[in-house]
Symmetry: D2
């Protein structure tokens, strides 16, 4: 008799009541029915933790008071019951410590970004992951959008010719006021160097913009000239910044990221131009990719499983025919689906990995160091990419 | 010791491999983690059925060859194991027979639209459901979009004043060719009177447009004057049509629905105007509601849990802060979530119900019965066009 | 010695201070420097008339108290000085009488629409024009937009295949209140049967929608089924209406026109679909024509003299390279330019002519004569709503 | 007897057949009927010059072979006939020499931008203009758009609170290929240091972006950190660049300008954010200003003489009610109208003047000097603004 399909057994650290991103991870993990939440430690506040776990249908003995006890408790369970992978949805300073411990226990890691709080610790983590054969997925959600893959694949196929210009802008407005002074938790830890690390805005959203630019261009940003600012009295971390940059393919560009653009929601936009035309993609309208040819011919490449003009890698990330909007949860679900498939079936792990995490740290550190001077990004990567296929379920 | 949260035990008829809408129902049901698929009969083709069920993680004994055996088999299980609700995702002619049988077995029903193939059978079903105390949810997915509720609630609150005009347009292009002649299953049954009933386009998408108009206006369409057409040789059912209509609130309007608008995807748009302004909503950009005041002041009401300008009923249907697009699956997930909550917790069932189904049938039957009273234009033109070149300076 | 280029000597009836459309005609006539205003009778109010004429640089002896004296006075001038063409920008009931008199005097006519107040008088005018070899231009401004010509020419070239559907919508909101009761002149005469004729909204804007549909489709609307309404107490003429229609090419469609869509500005939109795709054009964004192919490929055809993908007839109507928006005045200027060229150089007159005027009258009269054949929806609902809360889990 | 309204007698240098911008100036000057072209020297090629002048209706004796003979010839005419103002539409290196000579002859100047080829010569010109009481208008066309004034006035009124961020982007694609090598005149002189000066892209369009940012913000950019590039082999001047900048109000921002963004038309966009919200304006859709409040409330401020929510300074620049698009020519016509009014009636000259020209030169020189270092802009302005009202007709 045939065995029903396996589901990936997932645990979660963080994401209790009131934490936006935890619910997002769970909805995304649920969407395709390939992942089962089996345990978690959702909050350091015991009541919140228990309520959150029960609301998610967990038995009390799989709801742990902290991440250390989760790892210990799960290790004591039979292999067929214990978690296989762990989602880390905590403030930044815990990303690496938890990931390190999980990897040493042979548990695959799906982590919120940034990967850590400095280049050094993430480089160490990369080695630990490789040594333990663990998969690592970084929640660069925007890289889960199908039309981002369309853009990347069109660039790689030479549709635009040699790339000359890359403009990437990420504008939010939610920190335009001193929200951290009114008790908002999300604003609180993101503006606290002890929890967020040395950067605020660049760590939180600048890395998204940076990762998107490198991903679509297929090039690395090698140096930049930047300015960071903090616009609220008493705020210790940057809430705004911009950089001129150059890539290893000699393209130049501009990256802006700001959380004080009052009135803006979550406006991440990429525009990339080559000799033969340009592409434009906006996260807030993610089902359209605008392709302008050099002669001005403008095409809207719209998402849809039934759209033959989309490349196979694009259609693979879509669930619905054209005209049925898919959004942010579906993008993150794509990351979870590929992550689960890589672990369960040994398929290639196409989820942004620890190398993306390292690049993000190199970006943050260069931004912090620039002060209006050209700074080269740290290229000191571990010699072997840890996101290799040898990782086994 | 506390019991983990219950999940609704759901079965499904239809939706095997290759059926678009079945996967949509499952993803939507998964999203919030409140529903568990426990059994199904996914295809009348045994191989497809078994593969589909196994891929969904079902044990073989909960994968049934047909809906009759599913109802029988589940009835034999202990109450705590058997399905509580059944999703019907079959061609139209089976909607009522399956729903009737399920209701008689005390099983709640979530059905694809239209509710049935004529007013009579749906009216009978309505009585059966009431007699058996069964919930019924109709997959009017578009009524799950939060900004549709915003529109309805703004109209109800009098923001537009007395409603004068309602324009609703639903344009698709996928039947612009004779797709049913090339073996496409979805086109096949939708154009076959034996499976779809007496109407094609009006049953398939006209009912969506109709239901949306009535829902937002809070008024009933009481009479109409329509034309139906079929544009492909040999096609027996309407693939296109339009109607002038009046409501019981003395508003007038126009409804168009077509599946032969080549190049259109799934373009459902509602525009509604009252004495003080108008609202516009487009399904393909569902996170924006345009509100135009009489003085021309134009506001974009954008979706987001953090948007105080949205009404409570709107925010309840959102999962993400502004700028994180939610789409079609999230809209249907809202229906499933409310349906599950109504059954599990006794909360009010706000899902479009059998009364919506009956309205849809009344609409289809009126469309089929109407024949415009046509006036010819005066063709009595002067014999020579006066716009001739002989005219001289 | 070479003679400088001639300018067309133009007179104007109507369009004094406070009259929107008169200033529009003059700006449009000025734009290309080929037309010179030489005389006028701008208002029946002597002070307004004189001020208006002087502000336009006219000598007092070319500012006439009424149209009759203008025609007499100009006839007494040497041929090289007197007006060659006359713009009629008065309320509707004067269009034909003035045009008739002008034509009998051998003066070319450029008239506001509608051409007259009934089919009969316009047909008579058509004969007078032909008999006197006079050019006639009808201010169907929207037919002066270059991308409307692009659409027409693409349809004529078969890009869309056989035309199946035509949807044309014209929505304004300025008559949503009883503006005529607060002394607004423009609202006043447009709602007064003695000045506007038997129709309000259909004469004022319905004819634009109708003319645009026929122009682009290259087909004639042969029958229709309509409803007209008046939404303001005491208003005698229609301010709103809609029609289902058929063309002589067996396309069907819907036309809506309303002046009570509160909050709408001047929203004229055409959507036309054939076997192979569709086109969409919106007057309020006139520099883009959307072309959707049957496979969903969506192209934005954007205006610009430098755009090779535009057809020659389109580029001829453009003055600026892509990205430099041209608008309403430029569209009307195109009509004036072609009108002047036809008179001065004998080039073909491509301006909408008296035949368009006749079509418009046929349209208005059919709209007024039509009365839908209405079908009531089945209201025979079960007495109790089955979607009640008594349903239990 | 009353005298008809005067028209401003205008001459023009440059703008013969094939020159895009000359025709634009003439159409803009024509639009409101307040300006009369009386003489010109349109091309150094005699045939082109004569044909151009005659096509414009000039007598041969007012068509001059070069600008020097035009100034001499006109000086010999009776004061009531000779030109009062001169439009300079030549390559950059002639802007100042012609303007200097005209001013010394007491002729008002309307010049294409940039005002000159270096800060020094423009500062000298400023003094000459002041000494001779001459008006000067700089063709910063985009500052003629009414909604740009709306943005400026809203910022000045404090609607956004203290300004924090200014992003201005100007993207074109027409120099993405080496167009100058294929004989294109416009590309030719713009990429030739002998005719364009020391900068290409920054002089041509960077100054527009810069001027727009300063105009709307009501602040001066005091330092910047920039990179310029040239992407085509052999091209001597910049065709692309970007700068981080700071204003004297401590706002920071980014300016990008590029002519190698293949596929872009004329995409000038301004986004400005303060404590309480932001504004966004796009030149290619100039009739909408987007206002986002800090709470996410998004309003579209749409152009129209009938829109009470627009400020008086905005409505003054509009000719048409809402929904009738006005574009680029109308924006330039606003500059010409105000320029003519200032000369003819002594009204205040609100056209961008020589001080704008100086600011543009300071910008260009700072961009050229930066090389990724922070550079302060030259603040060495003449002590008295030459754009004073003492200028007399």
């Amino acid at each position: 008799m045939s065995k029903p399909a396996n589901r990936l057994r997932l645990g979660m650290i963080g994401g209790g009541e009131g934490a936006f991103i935890g619910a997002v991870h769970r909805a995304a993990a649920n969407l395709d029915g390939r992942i089962q939440l089996v345990c978690g430690s959702f909050s350091r506040e015991p009541g919140n933790n228990l309520r959150s776990g029960r609301a998610l249908g967990l038995a009390d003995n799989r709801i742990y008071p902290d991440w250390q006890s989760l790892l210990r408790g799960e290790a004591a369970l039979p292999p067929a019951e214990r978690l296989q992978a762990l989602t880390i949805a905590t403030p930044n300073q815990l990303h690496v410590p938890i990931a390190e411990a999980a990897a040493r226990a042979g548990i695959h890691v799906f982590s919120e970004k940034p990967a850590g709080i400095n280049f050094r610790e993430v480089a160490d983590l990369a080695r630990t992951l490789a040594d333990n054969g663990c998969h690592y997925g970084l929640a660069h959600t925007y890289l889960g959008y199908p039309l981002v893959h369309q853009a990347r694949d069109m660039v790689a196929a030479g549709t635009l010719g040699r790339i000359r210009k890359i403009y990437v802008d990420y504008r939010q407005g939610w920190l335009a006021d001193g929200l951290e002074y009114s008790g908002n938790k999300q604003a609180g830890w993101r503006t606290d160097p002890a929890q967020a690390g040395a950067s605020g805005c660049m760590a939180d959203i600048g890395t998204h913009a940076f990762g998107l630019a490198e991903f679509v261009a297929g090039q690395k940003i090698v140096r930049l000239c930047a300015e960071l600012r903090s616009h609220i009295d008493g705020r210790q971390l940057d809430d705004d910044g911009a950089a001129l940059f150059r890539t290893d393919g000699d393209a130049s560009g501009v990256l802006t990221a700001s959380q004080v653009c009052a009135g803006e929601e979550n406006n991440l936009t990429l525009r990339i131009y080559g000799e033969h035309g340009g592409l434009e993609w906006q996260q807030m309208q993610p089902d359209v990719l605008i392709h302008r040819a050099a002669n001005g011919d403008t095409r809207l490449l719209r998402a849809g499983t039934d759209r033959d003009y989309l490349l196979p890698g694009t259609r693979r990330g879509l669930r619905l025919p054209a005209g049925h909007p898919e959004g942010y949860l579906e993008a993150m679900a794509n990351l979870y689906r590929d992550f689960a498939d890589a672990i369960l079936t040994g398929s290639e792990n196409s989820v942004p990995g620890i190398d993306h995490g390292l690049r993000g740290m190199a970006f943050i550190e260069a931004m912090l160091a620039s002060h209006g001077n050209w700074i080269s990004l740290n290229e000191n990567l571990p010699t072997e990419s840890p996101q290799s296929k040898e990782a086994t379920p």
